[in-house]
């Protein structure tokens, strides 16, 4: 199966969850509706597509002007040796999407990082807590509204618990 037919099959298999299919410097990109992220990725993970690896998850802030955050999932299929990028837009005012915990084990940390950096809420995540910054950190540093070099007060030493 060539790369084009694979994308066509995926498009047919996912039905109206797909918003658009595009090409980014030779890599296939599929934009899906935010409320269908979990079923779409679950379908892609299984046969016949076999995207067994969640390579990466990140987010891009398009809040200014477009009022949305874009989640970017990178998948990799070992058996076909192809990558696939899935984009899903969530409203910047109330960013939320279904969690992938249970499908992939690294989704736990990846989603915690995106929550920490962008404030995206992952519904169904059992332990949505900041990953890279600390408890008590205010704001989400990778949002464009967060000023570069904003200093936050030092956290006090913790009392003995």
């Amino acid at each position: 199966m060539g790369p084009e037919t694979l994308i066509e099959e995926i498009r047919a298999g996912l039905g109206d969850a797909v918003e658009s299919v595009s090409d980014s410097h030779g890599d296939p990109v599929i934009a899906v509706k935010a409320d269908s992220v979990r079923p779409v990725l679950a379908a892609l993970r299984g046969a016949p597509f076999d995207y067994a690896v969640l390579l990466d998850l990140t987010c891009v802030d398009f809040a200014a002007g477009e009022g949305r955050l874009e989640l970017v999932y990178h998948l990799y299929s070992l058996s076909r040796n192809v990558r696939l990028r899935i984009n899903a837009s969530v409203p910047a005012a109330d960013p939320a999407v279904a969690s992938l915990v249970g499908l992939w084990k690294n989704a736990d940390w990846l989603e915690r990082e995106v929550f920490d950096m962008f404030g995206v809420r992952f519904d169904g995540h059992p332990y949505l807590r900041r990953l890279l910054t600390y408890e008590g950190f205010e704001g989400h540093p990778l949002l464009k509204t967060y000023p570069w070099r904003l200093a936050q007060p030092r956290i006090p030493l913790k009392d003995d618990e």
Binding site: L55, V60, H74, R85, K105, Y127, Y134
Partner: protein, 442 residues
């Protein structure tokens, strides 16, 4: 005070909670591993990362495409050249650049030296933490030879910034061949010694064999790549799966393990270094010696200084081509055309046009301007797939730059690997993962 971590909330009242780290003498890198213990047995664990988070991605959004390169050195600081390479090649994919062949050869050479030094550092620390201090010293010695060969050309051991968008900064040092040959010879000797010291060593085997086992399925589910994934038996290597540079023309094997335990992770790294040394020999044979420059025989620097006291020295001065200010004549074979490289310093300091092109490269809003869009590209780093996801809005700096750090996914599995094991098993398990704070926490 209300406990904030899961392990504090869920721990059974009779068990003991113990912190390993964030600063622990037997853990390289600042990471906090919280353990719930029943005597020596680990009932559950929680890993807390982020102690080295310095806002790499945010910083990159505020630097120009060219100026953010030194920050990539500091991701996986043991093999900075591979990070440089990952970033440079992602940008080249976005800009549609073709890199000259000599630059590609040099990139493979530098990348493989970095890979060996990365594996050496990982195994040295792992062995030391298991009590094998000799192995640590031997491997550090080999790494010094490799870093010396890198330093010859790049001018720095770790923070090199040598691989640039479009090519490399300058040509190889004239004595590079000898330095690389020595490094290969010495490393091979060290690998043989280390194999003899560890492979059948019952203390080492006791702490690594069948400790920290991860199945193939779990390794994929955790997004493992690199030597750690291959230790479980899956031969995924970006150099083979998606060949870049000249890797499809070079002969090397991808070693795999079969059990996915600490020992396999050690053994895969050992065998990979052997393959990288083979690659270094092949690539050294492929890189042609530098062609002599036109313009007559060059004057030795000391002689040129002596003569210059009396009159202006005519003709070229014999300087190493990797020195800033003497790279111009060779730049065409090392850097893609299209104004992506820094204008050579000779012309900046001596001609008006050179100075103008220098300003046009470095001024705000000028310089490298990739088209709008996003791009993902990855290379095989010391720990696995080092991927860059970059979004450009057409300006002089990234709209968004994200690093896919391989050890992020690997360390995420630590909680599962140590559950049910003994406290002492945390050390070799963590060691075999090669956690690099600069890359993990960004």
């Amino acid at each position: 005070m209300e406990p904030t971590t899961r392990i504090q909330r869920e721990a059974r009242p009779e068990s003991m909670l113990l912190n390993m780290g964030p600063s622990h003498p037997a853990m390289h890198g600042t990471i906090r591993v919280m353990l719930e213990l029943d005597a020596e047995r680990i009932l559950s664990a929680e890993v807390e990362v982020g102690y080295l988070h310095r806002g790499f991605e945010k910083t990159c959004e505020n630097k120009t495409w060219f100026n953010l390169l030194p920050y990539t050195d500091r991701l996986n600081y043991v093999s900075p050249l591979i990070n440089n390479l990952g970033y440079a090649m992602t940008m080249e994919k976005m800009l549609g650049l073709t890199v000259p062949e000599r630059a590609q050869l040099i990139r493979v050479l530098m990348g493989e030296m970095s890979r060996v030094s990365d594996h050496l550092t990982c195994l040295a620390a792992m062995a030391m933490e298991c009590g094998a201090f000799t192995v640590f010293l031997y491997m550090m010695k080999a790494r010094e030879f490799l870093w010396e060969a890198i330093e010859f050309t790049a001018g720095a051991r770790m923070t090199t910034s040598y691989i640039r968008i479009g090519g490399v900064r300058a040509d190889l040092h004239p004595d590079w061949r000898g330095a690389v040959a020595t490094a290969v010879k010495e490393t091979r000797k060290v690998l043989k010694d280390v194999s003899g010291l560890l492979d059948g060593n019952s203390i080492f085997l006791g702490r690594t064999r069948d400790v920290g086992i991860l199945s193939k399925e779990d390794a994929l589910s955790y997004g493992w790549t690199g030597p750690c994934l291959r230790s479980t038996g899956i031969p995924y290597d970006v150099r083979k799966a998606h060949p870049y540079l000249l890797y499809d023309r070079l002969d090397f094997e991808v070693p795999v393990g079969d059990r996915g335990d600490n020992y396999d992770r050690y053994s895969v790294r050992m065998r990979e270094m052997e393959q990288s040394l083979r690659l270094l020999e092949q690539i050294s044979a492929l890189i042609p010696d530098m062609a002599p420059l036109a313009g007559g025989p060059a004057v030795e620097p000391a002689e040129a200084i002596r003569r210059s006291r009396r009159q202006r020295v005519e003709g070229p001065v014999a300087l190493s081509p990797n020195l800033e200010g003497s790279e111009m004549d060779r730049l065409a074979g090392l850097m893609a055309a299209g104004g992506v490289g820094v204008p050579p310093k000779e012309s900046t300091y001596t001609t008006m046009e050179g100075l103008i092109s220098h300003f046009l490269f470095f001024m705000d809003g000028k310089g490298i301007r990739p088209p709008k869009g996003d791009v993902y590209f990855s290379v095989e780093g010391g720990n696995g797939e080092v991927g860059f996801y970059i979004v450009s809005d057409g300006t002089d700096r990234p709209y968004r730059l994200h690093l896919r750090a391989p050890c992020f996914h690997i360390v995420a599995a630590l909680e599962q690997l140590v559950r049910g094991r003994l406290v002492a098993d945390v050390i070799p398990t963590f060691g075999s993962m090669n956690m690099i704070g600069g890359e993990l926490d960004r």
